[in-house]
């Protein structure tokens, strides 16, 4: 059975956990470097990317996690998790993060909480549209080499994949639809 870690610092950790368990995966909260040894892939959840980034540095997890993903550990970042993965951050490029994916991201670019919304997305490889919840969402402003766009919303990519890494502007974990978790667990993670 595959064990998928969830970065267990802050945010909507339990929602990802419940979703992964419902599709038959083991889960583990990842808080320190030693937690990385027992997982086959990792989800970087939504929450506050500034708080997660700082605590990744303070706990000493940033570097080992960056190395593990750079070496091929499958990773799926949602919302704040996508910000952690982004190589370039418009507005504040100094913010602590993993910085591994060739995407340029702008935080809170879809507006504040009053502008949060739910929509159905046409996703490459899926027959049915998938529901997506956008909350103070980050926007992908540009994609670099090796990045494939799997879904777009109003001319901006919102779901992208680069090899072992996938990132979403939105929250699949707040819907009833497990398709993207299944895709990550079955197509990207191997035991």
């Amino acid at each position: 059975m595959k064990t998928i870690g969830i970065l267990g610092i802050q945010g909507a950790i339990e929602e990802h956990e419940a979703m992964l368990q419902s599709i038959g995966c083991n889960t583990r909260w990842v808080k320190e470097a030693k937690d990385l040894r027992s997982i086959d892939g990792i989800i970087l959840p939504g929450g506050e990317s500034t708080s997660m980034g700082k605590q990744l540095e303070w706990s000493g997890l940033m570097e080992p996690l960056r190395k593990a993903i750079a070496k091929g550990m499958p990773a799926f970042g949602t919302c704040a998790g996508m910000i952690l993965l982004a190589k370039e951050l418009e507005g504040n490029n100094l913010q602590s993060r993993l910085g591994l994916m060739n995407i340029v991201v702008k935080r809170n670019a879809y507006g504040s909480q009053l502008d949060s919304f739910v929509t159905d997305l046409k996703v490459k490889g899926f027959a049915q549209p998938l529901p997506a919840v956008f909350i103070r969402a980050p926007r992908i402003e540009a994609c670099g080499e090796g990045v494939e766009t799997l879904a777009s919303y109003k001319e901006h990519p919102v779901l992208v994949r680069q090899g072992n890494m996938m990132a979403a502007s939105f929250h699949p974990e707040l819907t009833d639809c497990t398709e993207l978790h299944r895709y990550f667990a079955e197509q990207m993670v191997s035991e």
């Binding site: 267990g8 610092i9 945010g11 708080s51 303070w58 009053l114």
Partner: protein, 284 residues
């Protein structure tokens, strides 16, 4: 929908100006509560406590990238509409301010912006959720630096949840009647063993150990009011409380985080306050 879930497993800090808001963000806070006076000052100064100056709230909103919350008085629909018009992220309908209505809370379903409300027990929590609150926090006793009331309220909420889980279906309507809570929410809690919205803690957190205690008792996140900026070393205390909230099960880390923090806020023995001085008794 959904922002309340993103704020889980973190710390929300009271701030009264831009400088404090930046300290909070740098310390890893997941949101700030913008208000003119922290609860301990409201308590000390007395008088009517109202919604903060919108200009001050907007300055804080501009200064940080994390969500901004602000407080309106219980039942003060107009203050809530003003805060919503400011396009902030969350409203706290708070007993820390002087209530505007001693009979009715705001119908929060009428708003697009999410609300957090205080509670002392499960019935009160479910009444607020019934009115549309997207997040619940214990009331505790704000501005005292004393964790005892937050513990009492969290124990009451969690104890109430455990009790409902053990009930048969026949018993649930009577439980709803006794709790003074909507029947459908009582059924939800009995089935799921948790509130339908995130369950946070507030009112008296002053140290990293206090934050860890509330997490151990079931709080999904922690609000810290006077405890940070009334301590002798706010930057250090703020960061330590954030790390303690994340690592609440790791006692060795907590020991390290509790070292050399300087003087915590002075604090008040809640037993020395009479009923009229308790913020928690505001609202029903």
């Amino acid at each position: 929908m959904g922002l309340a879930e993103m704020l889980k497993n973190g710390v929300i800090m009271d701030v009264t100006n831009v400088e404090q808001a930046k300290i909070a963000e740098d310390a890893g806070a997941i949101a700030v509560m913008a208000l003119e006076r922290v609860p301990s000052d409201i308590r000390a100064q007395g008088g009517v406590a109202r919604m903060s100056d919108p200009k001050m709230i907007m300055e804080i909103k501009k200064a940080v990238s994390i969500p901004v919350m602000a407080k309106c008085r219980i039942g003060h629909i107009a203050e809530a509409q003003i805060l919503q018009a400011l396009d902030i992220d969350f409203i706290d309908e708070s007993e820390v301010l002087t209530p505007a209505d001693e009979e009715f809370h705001i119908n929060k379903h009428d708003f697009k912006i999410p609300f957090v409300c205080g509670c002392r027990n499960l019935g009160e929590a479910l009444r607020r959720i019934g009115e549309g609150a997207a997040m619940i926090r214990t009331k505790g006793e704000a501005g005292t630096g004393n964790i005892v009331e937050a513990v009492r309220h969290m124990r009451a909420v969690m104890g109430g949840i455990h009790r409902l889980q053990a009930c048969s279906k026949e018993e649930l309507m009577t439980e709803a009647k006794n709790l003074g809570a909507p029947y459908d929410l009582v059924c939800y809690v009995a089935e799921h063993g948790k509130l339908p919205v995130p369950n946070f803690s507030a009112g008296g957190v002053a140290t990293p150990a206090d934050a860890a205690l509330m997490r151990l008792l079931g709080a999904e996140s922690v609000f810290v009011g006077s405890g940070i900026f009334k301590s002798s070393n706010p930057k250090k205390v703020a960061k330590a409380i954030v790390e303690a909230t994340t690592n609440y099960m790791d006692a060795k880390k907590l020991a390290k985080l509790s070292e050399n923090l300087g003087e915590a806020m002075h604090g008040i023995d809640v037993r020395q306050l009479d009923d009229k001085q308790l913020f928690a008794n505001r609202g029903w």
